[in-house]
Symmetry: C2
Subunit: 208 residues, 2 copies
């Protein structure tokens, strides 16, 4: 009887591990999802996995600029690490592509169900919930995470002389509209971002 219980436990455990490994294999595909941003040396487009590592680092380094008290960095890091995984199925929607945003959430929700659904149920639920929290932006962790996610491509655009902005004919008013929400969570970084936009216009990287 004890032996049977142990066998059952092993099967259950190995089933959890099996699902976790399948998920880990599947998300390797994020390394193939290309973004519009170029790397800082303008040599090629960035992919989502690289972008995600970079913003997780920024989330760590920039924490002191968050003004909402008691922010949980562990939650922020988890949220940042998983927030683009849905793009394996749904693709990267360029920030200023209005038509691409029409059914973006619907496409991404299907993707979340499929990809996070590879995991054991409790982990699936946790990751879907973290992803929805990021999308809704109603908590201080999600506001901070989203602010960092907006600042990073701005830096990449600025330091590649506006490569992606020019390619897509983006104007400064569009960039400013996109970063407004940063003011609540990280006002110092918002001020810096507004300065970057102004300087990008002055340098001719970005249309007024």
């Amino acid at each position: 009887m004890i032996f049977i219980q142990r066998e059952r436990l092993l099967v259950n455990e190995s089933n959890r591990l099996h699902r976790q490994i399948e998920f880990i294999r599947e998300i390797d595909k994020l390394k193939h999802v290309l973004r519009q941003s170029l790397l800082m040396d303008a040599s090629r487009q960035e992919n989502d996995a690289e972008h995600t590592w970079h913003i997780a680092m920024m989330g760590m380094i920039m924490l002191e600029h968050a003004v909402e008290p008691g922010l949980d960095l562990k939650v922020v890091l988890k949220m940042l690490l998983i927030h683009d995984i849905v793009e394996i199925d749904a693709g990267d929607t360029f920030a200023y592509d209005e038509s691409g945003h029409v059914d973006k959430f619907q496409r991404e929700q299907l993707a979340a169900n499929r990809i996070f659904g590879l995991l054991p149920d409790d982990q699936r639920d946790e990751l879907i919930s973290l992803w929805l929290e990021f999308e809704a932006g109603d908590t201080m962790e999600s506001r901070y995470a989203a602010s960092i996610d907006r600042l990073q491509p701005l830096l990449h655009n600025y330091y590649t002389s506006g490569a992606a902005w020019q390619r897509h004919g983006v104007r400064s008013s569009q960039v400013l509209a996109r970063i407004t929400k940063m003011a609540i969570s990280v006002p110092a970084l918002y001020d810096y971002a507004v300065w970057l936009v102004g300087d990008a216009v002055a340098k001719g990287y970005l249309a007024e």
Copy 2:
């Protein structure tokens, strides 16, 4: 007087921010450091930034397999996120390159001082200390982080039919020696890794 103090504060703050931005720009170079592992679809070599994102995800997902109680996931994630940044200067040393390991630590220590040294002093000290903790492997967080860092390339090798193993003439005894330490932190994952190695030999992916 109050005005002068405010000015001084702004300068100090902007100096911190300036150093943080310089660091964030510099670490973009991790996206150019190629590893020996191929992506799961064998299309190209993986880079360090992608690898780091992947192991941070694994660190999150595999936590239940860590047997040492009270592991701090936030510390693990920070450690994983920064552990390969030194390779921007020191390069990726292939796990089974014995001559490359002779001066590895010395090269990496110089790199840590230069790259983390771009940050404000308190953040430089924190990141160097996290990196040294990872390298020493004396804490449960560093043992868990290192275990995950060993499992990931094993999965990539297994699922690319041993591409990097074959290219470098690696034998199963070398792979087994490299994963031994996993047994302390994550015995279930160690058992799984040993099974993968055995199966890789049986399938002809890896020399006995």
